[in-house]
Amino acid sequence: MTAMTDTQSDQGFHPSQLIYDTRYRSITIQIIALICVLAGFGWLINNAVTNLAAAGQDFNFDFLGNVAGYDINQKIIDYDSQMTHGRATLVGLLNTLLVAVLGCITCTVIGVTMGVLRLSNNWIVQKLATVYVEGFRNVPVLLWIVLTMGVMIKLPPDPRAFRSGDASMILWDSVAITNRGVYVPRIIYEAGSSIVVGVLILSIIGIFAFRRLARKRQEATGAILPVFWVSLGLLFIPVIIAQFVMGSPVSLQNPYFRGFNFTDGVHLRNSLIALWLALSLYTGAFVAENVRAGILAVSKGQTEAAAALGIRPRRIMNLVVLPQAMRVIVPPMISNYLNLTKNSSLALAIGYMDLTGTLGNITRNQTGREMECVLLLMGIYLILSLGISSLGNLYNNSVKLKER
């Protein structure tokens, strides 16, 4: 700021200027406020420590190295009840990340679709999308989570119905939908499967290379290569040949019923599915509104100009409108991802063993280390959120308006 009311600067400095001189006043106020806040925090921490000491409790994190003693049903890394609370925390953190990543992907797909459909010219489609958005946005997400879980428990048959023949598996006996979750086939890798996987990776690299080439060709000559069909072919044909030549080393193992439950497949627990579904649908409604706002923010002239050039409506959306809308859509999108990740802690209500379920609930309760667990929990969520924000900001920088 250069606006100055007093012009006494040449007369030397006087302490009263700290209050009366507008050049210094704001700094003075800020410093005083900072001191107050720091003193407040200091008093707060001191108070907490004193009170903990008075209650005979110290403040340390040693408990993370002690044996946890409890089991966790969904574990992405190896874990058993003889491992430490620290390990249990890690298992919980990975479960949080799993549902967050799955949720962010699906909420984006759902949200973009619904946002575009809400602008559709078809009355029914548009109204359906509106009902979806308003329905999910206006009911607390906890209720959606609990409701979805309730449906998952009550509606599908229990595993024993499959034994007695009252229920049967679907998709050629490969998938079982039960009230304990969904069992899907597991992939088994036998000798030689590394070659098949290697071929798959090469194919994917090949697809990207081909797409680049096609784009260059189009920019240079205007000729459009059949990108979609070639990509599809590149993806499947080499892998199928490799699989055939090597004698089918990669195969699918269907789940089957034994004893009390299905075994040998991958078990998608209904707590995971319920949480994933409810979070995606709920956050998807917010994403849909962002997408709609983004599209509406692109001036109508753009669409009309593109139409005047004879571009088809789908292409107008994909090539003209969406790329510009991205600039409006991306920043609030980051906050949607943050919300989804933080809301995943509601997992507690349906027994999904995420970070809150392990560290924030069972470990906290069994060790009695309330303060430590909650602080650690807050710290981890904070780091997670900052990580998501910075990734989002990186992406935002790549799509935002580049001023040249």
């Binding site: 108070n47 009170n51 009840s81 009550k154 009390f260 439950n261 009695g368």
Partner: protein, 338 residues
Amino acid sequence: MTKSVFFGALATAGLLAGAASAQTLAEVQERDTLRCGVTTGLVGFAAPNEEGEWEGFDVAICRAVAAAVLGDGSKVEFIPTTGSTRFTALASGEIDLLARNTTWTFSRDVDLEFEFAGVNYYDGQGFLVRKDLGVTSANELDGATVCIQTGTTTELNLADFFRANDMSYEPVPIETNAEAQQQYLANACDVYTTDASGLAATRASFENPGDHMLLPEIISKEPLGPLVRHGDNAWGDIARWTLNALIAAEELGVTSENLEEMAAGTDNPEINRLLGSEGNLGEMLGLSSDWAVNAISAGGNYGEIFEDNIGADTAIGLDRGLNAQWTNGGLLYSPPFR
């Protein structure tokens, strides 16, 4: 912005400052109600009846303590807690006494810093299954899906039991008994495991209790009792000796019927000391001399409380078993009132 953060911090610190205090008796007397932590609802132990009044075996302990301290067993505010919120509620001072099927363990006593007033029910962990599951022993449960309440000793015992027997299982962690019951009845789990008394109470509330059975194995010791915060010994004594008074009353033959008559004085000096017509035990506790009379009149002696809420004549139908007086081959044994 900075301002609101600052005042928020002040408020939080103020809350923290209220937590540590060793004056529970004075606080309860001043407030004129006892804040008692109970379950979220387990018929027989603690649940509201049709009129919305809490009743049950654990509730009776709350009422007895309230009667001993405030002279009126209805001066209780019941605070429902789950397995994982109960200790926070007690440690933070939100409740004065916790009577919620809580097992007395070393770490809860020593590390979590609580004080158990004694044992009001000697229990053990059992397994509830459907009869048509075709299982007759817990050793046949390999691969089963098991519903458990989180934040309990149950989940730790279960992990140990399956490990020791080299079996695997799929735990389904659940917050409250009501939800566990729902999942179990929907067959989302094969087995429900918790304290055997809790299982009996849960089964009694089923539509067809006869379709379900408890497996014969009891895999742990679960001495359940009321507890208070560590550090306020005077308050701990009140809880401990109120429980003892109920147990001693049964042993000495003091019932809600003959209470008034006996309180006037008998030829048994121990009864006289207990009921306050002789000596000054009440005064030593900081209570009135008829504290035990009030405690017993709230719901009867231990035996009456047992029979009224969970005994053989109720739907829950539990036998006295280990919870009989030591004179009848049980484990109940109150130290002398002297």
